[in-house]
């Protein structure tokens, strides 16, 4: 162990702390303001820690509609992710293994879907949702979410499945395994790392999705967390500690997920970027 501290190490440390302040200050502000009374925020310096920390803001948020938003988010995200994984796993298997005439053509069309900016699809999706009578339901969200995320998922999974050696399937076939068996017993388990990455990527993206919820739902009971906090913010604009408590609570699930599975979460979030 070296104990000598070099000049360079000091510089590195100072720079690191400097950025820590820039990155962390808003969080510090957010979390600690949530424990303040409104009057204390207005009278005292913003930096000061709350003199008498109060839980009333957090309690206020939790006794409101927070859990409805939270539940909606969970339902929509979980439903979409499961569907995305199921559909893309099945089609990726076909694209990576079976040779048929239109294979590359269909694959190409699906992949081209990645290039379309989501906002462009907003108006057609809105009109279609209205026509189907799904406006202002949670189901209205799952459809577009699945459709929009499938191209990327198929793209990544197909690449992944191509690397699974064919010999494994052949020996399974000799041992009397049908196509279904091969898919569920061999391909799916072997694709697990890819599936996990994709699940995280899709879940993170959909958890924070805003504009489709804004356009496709209307009543408070059918909105997800991002829209929930946005509505609260309009409603309680003057009660800053309350909003800060809400933001803290809304950000907690992701923070916890990150602290639990840092490497996996980063890998998942990067997956979309690197391939796209």
């Amino acid at each position: 162990m070296k104990t000598k501290v070099t000049f360079r190490q000091v510089i590195v440390f100072i720079l690191a702390v400097l950025w820590l302040c820039i990155a962390g200050a808003p969080f510090f502000f957010m979390v600690q303001t949530g424990f303040k009374q409104q009057s204390e925020l207005l009278s005292g310096p913003v930096w000061a820690l709350p003199k008498v920390p109060t839980l009333s803001n957090y309690v206020g948020v939790l006794t409101g509609k927070f859990f409805i938003f939270f539940r909606n988010s969970v339902v929509v995200v979980a439903g979409s992710v499961i569907l995305i994984l199921l559909v893309s796993a099945m089609s990726s298997y076909v694209f990576s293994r079976i040779k048929f005439k239109l294979n590359t053509a269909i694959f190409g069309i699906i992949i081209a879907g990645m290039a379309i900016p989501v906002h462009v699809t907003l108006i057609p999706v809105y009109l279609l949702t209205n026509k189907l009578g799904l406006y202002d339901t949670l189901l209205a969200l799952i459809g577009p979410y699945v459709a929009l995320n499938i191209p990327m998922s198929i793209f990544i999974l197909t690449e992944f499945m191509r690397d699974i050696p064919r010999e494994l399937e052949e020996s399974a076939r000799i041992d009397g395994c049908g196509p279904k068996g091969i898919f569920f017993r061999i391909i799916l388990p072997l694709s697990r790392p890819g599936l996990v990455t994709l699940a995280i990527y899709n879940a993170v993206f959909l958890w924070n999705e805003f504009i489709f919820v804004l356009v496709l739902t209307q009543s408070t009971n059918n909105r997800t967390l991002p829209l929930g906090i946005w509505e609260y913010q309009g409603q309680y604009a003057a009660n800053i500690p309350m909003i800060m408590a809400l933001l803290t609570l809304a950000s907690l699930p992701m923070m916890i997920a990150y602290l639990v599975g840092q490497e996996k979460l980063i890998k998942g979030m990067m997956a979309g970027a690197i391939k796209g």
Partner: protein, 258 residues
């Protein structure tokens, strides 16, 4: 759709040919939005990539000791854009926001501005938030690329008497060229599509100073119910993104070959 005059509800849709497109070409607000989009593109690349790179170098040279820092540095990426937008509305608040508090504390009281309320300033305040949120992304991205550079290269350079600066400029950076290029493309394409953060913070105001193509499209289609014109803006957004992507890809391809 872009050839219709329609409010999205009426059964009556009026076909008006290219009228929406002519209107778009003369529309100053759209031009403003397009310009803002490109300002964001340029500043995002110019600010986020270098700082992301600097932080990656910092974390790379600090090793495991800085792991705690790395964790906190990444936090902004974990919040939804909506939450970030709302948080920064209060961070920027001219009365009790922390920016004001900071300026007061260091004695620069006269620099205090209404960060989101002044048309000349708002766009840059918003860009600062965008940078705050996305720098961690590029940091992690570059860091991943750096850790994949074999350690022997550093040792070899060390033996040859290279300084850390030389090592970075002459070995690391050239090796990361592809990564930097991809990051720039990501930033470019992403910047053309911003919506959430801006909508939450300013709704495109004050006086359209932070209007973007996406927010303008949303307003036309869903606030003033001009579905036809909204579609025209959406199509324009699509074309801009497509053309830029194709341009960028063909330019970078040519570079790779030559």
């Amino acid at each position: 759709m872009s050839f219709l005059k329609w409010n999205g509800i009426d059964p009556v849709k009026e076909f008006i040919g290219f009228e929406n497109w002519f209107e778009l070409l003369k529309d100053n607000i759209f031009r403003r939005a397009l310009g803002n989009n490109f300002i964001i593109v340029i500043l995002s690349i110019a600010i986020q990539l270098p700082i992301g790179m600097a932080l990656a170098v910092l974390l790379d040279s600090g090793g495991r000791k800085l792991n705690l820092f790395k964790t906190v540095y990444f936090f902004p990426m974990l919040m939804s854009s909506v939450a970030v937008g709302i948080l920064f509305k209060y961070v920027y608040d001219p009365q009790f926001g922390i920016v004001t508090a900071f300026l007061n504390a260091v004695g620069l009281k006269r620099l205090v501005l209404n960060w989101l309320g002044e048309p000349g300033v708002a766009l840059y305040s918003v860009i600062a938030v965008i940078c705050w949120q996305y720098i961690p992304f590029y940091m992690i991205y570059f860091l991943a690329a750096m850790t994949s550079i074999p350690g022997e290269l550093f040792e070899a350079a060390w033996i040859d008497g290279a300084t850390r600066g030389q090592y970075f400029w002459q070995i690391v950076l050239p090796l990361l060229k592809g990564t930097v290029r991809t990051a720039a493309i990501l930033s470019l394409v992403g910047s053309l599509k911003y919506f959430d953060l801006i909508y939450v913070m300013t709704e495109g105001g004050p006086v359209n100073s932070t209007e973007l193509m996406a927010t303008y499209m949303y307003k036309n289609a869903f606030t003033t119910f001009r579905m036809g014109y909204g579609s025209t803006v959406a199509m324009a957004l699509f074309l801009v993104v497509m053309v830029t992507s194709i341009l960028v890809f063909s330019i970078t391809k040519r570079e790779e070959r030559g």
